[in-house]
């Protein structure tokens, strides 16, 4: 039922499916920025080493190793780290992202090789133009490298349990009496109302009413719950459906 959600569902060998949160372009850009910084630093170190080698009279060897090292940093940095750290580079580690296979299984070297080499085409024409285009078009926000390698980038950041969703102001006795005995809401409706209530403090009263109007009238007609505002209709319906109206006022 998630139409605009940024999650992907995965069926595991344990026969439980859970949802991965997909990494958005912002997070991926952050990881990429950190990785690029690291790569610049590495090339700088190699340059310093090469110059020291030049001073020490090793000249050609130092330069050759510098070229080789720069090549490795440019093309193989991602492959190396993602293979060793099971899907994470330094930047991804800091941004709490991980590369996994699209079916949730861990990705392996062939996947990392392909997806990193194809960064060359994702980078065209200007600064990941094609990559961003692909991420916009694909439901799981994959760039061309991910599509070919069959991988997906997931976010592993920790969420906090916010506690039970509260009903404010609490359900009054009159409201309780006025409501029908049984109110049945679909699971997705329950989730929608919960999501609404969790964000209620950030919304103005007019905006909250505007949002409530999407579901309120239909819900009222179907369940028979009435209230002065549509927002209150949603709250009451949810409270009755989940039994929260019987709790402490």
């Amino acid at each position: 039922m998630e139409l605009l959600d940024t999650t992907a569902t995965v069926e595991t060998p344990e026969r439980v499916s859970f949802r991965f949160r997909l990494a958005g372009p912002g997070q991926r850009a952050l990881a990429w920025a950190i990785d690029t910084l690291v790569q610049v630093v590495l090339v700088g170190l190699l340059l310093a080493l090469a110059m020291m080698g030049g001073i020490a009279g090793l000249g050609g060897i130092g330069l050759g190793l510098f070229f080789l090292g720069t090549f490795c940093v440019q093309w193989l940095y991602g492959v190396l780290f993602e293979t060793l750290w099971s899907g994470r580079t330094i930047g991804k580690r800091i941004a709490d992202l991980r590369v996994v296979r699209a079916d949730g299984a861990p990705a392996r070297f062939p996947d990392f090789l392909l997806r990193n080499l194809l960064k060359a085409v994702d980078f065209l024409p200007l600064f990941f133009g094609i990559g961003v285009l692909a991420m916009t078009a694909d439901r799981r926000m994959r760039r061309i490298g991910d599509l070919v390698a069959g991988t997906v980038v997931v976010a592993e950041d920790k969420t906090n349990v916010l506690g039970i969703v509260a009903v404010r102001p609490p359900v009054t006795e009159e409201e309780r009496q006025a409501m029908p005995a049984g109110v049945a809401l679909r699971p997705d409706e329950l989730r929608a109302i919960e999501a609404f209530l969790r964000r209620r403090s950030r919304l103005s009263d007019e905006r909250a009413e505007e949002l409530a109007r999407y579901l309120g009238p239909e819900l009222s007609r179907r369940t028979g719950v009435t209230a002065p505002t549509w927002e209150r209709v949603l709250v009451l319906a949810w409270a009755r459906a989940t039994g929260a109206d019987r709790g402490a006022a």
């Binding site: 050609g60 440019q74 070919v148 920790k158």
Partner: protein, 307 residues
């Protein structure tokens, strides 16, 4: 709920710090199974979405951690793929390899003949500055550079040529058009250089230098182009599935071709840096080059065939 909360916190701690020991790992496995059960319960009981999200997140991270083992013997698998799996795959994709070769060698011949016959042709393809630089590079037939020079040049060629080949492959994602362009362009470029040098009388020097590694390098570029064409083809002719599905089916083949191209170019760079810039006399270099052509041809034709 409180007891469960405790278990989730414990899992959180396990994921954050370790697990450090064998017992830690079995603890993690047990906690993972428990949380999968909790997740099912939470879903069917219709618990608030934020609780479900936390469980999803914990289960996902535990899943990734548990299954994130480094596969054993991956080095052997890699070498096997490159030496055996790759030639087999190339023979399977022989049509695309043929196409890539034509796209490369056709303009190569064109450029070589054009530049050798008409002096202004080379100037049209390359800038005069570049021409001068190339002429300087091959001006003398004494290419001895000493040990330092060897490693330096090998490194530079790896950086330059493998990068070009990787781009030849990657741009295949543009429905193959990028690879076609890359092959044609580089073929023309290299051919023009060769023809021009021959035209100004430096042909022998060039041949002396490139004979040793050309077989590996030019084949490597063509194979990279083949991989790009395979990718492009998967995008164009999906055979009834989605583009993503078609590409996914081809990804094994593409991987083996890319690996093969990388290997070919690596060998070419090593030869280029260490042998080609060495002191061997001209006849020896030609002989060596001929042997390389033979080795490459035999390996690609017979490598990985069942006896």
């Amino acid at each position: 709920m409180a007891a469960r909360r405790e278990r989730w916190d414990q899992l959180e701690r396990l994921l954050a710090d370790g697990p450090a020991s064998a017992s830690g790992w079995s603890e993690l496995a047990g906690a993972y199974r428990a949380i999968c059960a909790d997740l099912s319960v939470a879903r069917s009981a219709g618990m608030p979405s934020d609780v479900q999200d936390v469980l999803d997140d914990l289960a996902g991270r535990a899943h990734n951690r548990l299954y994130a083992v480094r596969p054993t013997g991956w080095g052997r698998a890699l070498v096997g793929d490159a030496l055996v799996g790759f030639p087999r795959e190339l023979r399977l994709q022989w049509r695309l390899f043929l196409l890539a070769s034509v796209l490369f060698y056709g303009p190569f011949v064109l450029g070589a003949v054009g530049a050798a016959v008409d002096p202004s042709f080379a100037a049209a393809v390359l800038s005069p500055g570049m021409l001068e630089q190339i002429e300087q590079m091959y001006a003398s037939d004494d290419l001895v550079r000493g040990v330092g020079g060897d490693v330096s040049m090998a490194g530079f060629y790896v950086l330059n040529n493998v990068g070009i080949a990787f781009r030849c492959f990657a741009t295949g994602a543009l429905f193959g058009i990028g690879s076609i362009y890359c092959l044609v362009y580089n073929g023309l470029l290299i051919g023009t250089v060769a023809g021009h040098l021959a035209g100004v009388g430096l042909g022998r020097n060039l041949l002396s230098f490139v004979a040793g590694h050309s077989a590996w390098e030019l084949t490597g570029v063509c194979v990279a182009g083949t991989a790009g064409l395979r990718l492009g083809w998967a995008l164009v002719a999906t055979g009834g599935s989605t583009r993503a599905g078609s590409v996914r089916r081809a990804s094994g083949a593409i991987y083996r071709l890319v690996l093969g191209a990388a290997f070919l170019l690596l060998v070419a760079a090593a030869i280029e840096g260490f042998w080609s810039a060495g002191p061997a006399p001209f006849p020896a270099r030609l002989a060596f080059g001929a042997v390389q052509i033979l080795i490459v041809a035999l390996w690609l034709t017979f490598g990985g065939r069942a006896r």
